[in-house]
């Protein structure tokens, strides 16, 4: 179909946008409270889990090579960064 001259009129584009939203809402429905809570819960764990994994791995390496806290600190920060990054990515998924 060729583009009609009134296609770009704000009244048309705004109305179409709302129609699209309405269609999406009708097809997907409201997201449940439980789902939202699960989403928020998972977000927390996505940050905490890699951080903890980093700490445990760091402790193990420190004990093995006798380096005090170097590995623990380094891997904690790394784990935290990885967790935040993956949480960020997950949040911005559609």
């Amino acid at each position: 179909m060729t583009r009609r001259p009134n296609e770009g009129d704000p009244l048309v584009t705004e109305t179409r946008k709302r129609g699209e939203r309405h269609r999406r809402w009708r097809e997907a429905g409201d997201e449940g409270v439980a789902r939202r809570l699960a989403q928020v819960g998972v977000l927390g764990w996505m940050i905490v889990a890699p951080t903890l994994a980093g700490v445990f791995a760091g402790r193990w390496l420190d004990r093995r090579y006798g380096t005090g806290l170097t590995w623990t600190g380094a891997l904690l920060v790394l784990g935290l960064a990885a967790g935040c990054w993956s949480a960020w990515r997950w949040m911005h998924e559609p």
């Binding site: 009134n6 704000p10 048309v12 584009t13 705004e14 709302r18 699209e20």
Partner: protein, 137 residues
């Protein structure tokens, strides 16, 4: 509640059995039920929706405007242009059809006025030619 939506040329909606109205302004979307405090706001280009007492939804695309609530039972929207529909997902087609029709009407009006103009000129030249012929035998 009573809802009135009007443009400078016509009253588009005048419905008395409205249960709730939804609209949006620069701060976001809002809803109005009976008994609302007096209220005045400006609407952007958007869609005003409402339901009557049977719960039937209706929609109206507005080209900007002003929304007022008075005495908790009268909602009035003054706008430049309004298109009413019962299906939000098809409303943009109605809007498009309406704009198209207006364009077409304007074009045909212009065409007719040009035709009238040309006919008048032709008539004048005919009269002038006849007058000249009468003067010089």
């Amino acid at each position: 509640m009573r809802l009135r939506i009007h443009t400078p040329l016509e009253v588009v909606v005048d419905q008395a059995d409205v249960r709730s109205v939804r609209a949006e302004d620069a701060t976001g979307s809002f809803g109005i039920l009976g008994g609302h405090e007096d209220f005045l706001t400006t609407l952007p280009v958007s869609v005003v929706s409402w339901t009557d007492v049977r719960g039937e939804p209706r929609y109206c695309a507005v080209r900007g405007g002003v929304l007022t609530v008075t005495d908790g039972e009268a909602v009035a929207v003054a706008t430049r242009e309004a298109v009413v529909g019962t299906d939000l997902e098809r409303l943009h087609r109605d809007v498009l059809a309406r704009l198209e029709a207006a364009r077409e009407a304007e074009r045909s009006e212009r065409f007719e006025s040009t035709q009238l103009h040309l006919a008048a000129i032709r008539e004048i030249t005919r009269h002038l030619r006849q007058a000249r012929r009468r003067e010089s035998p």
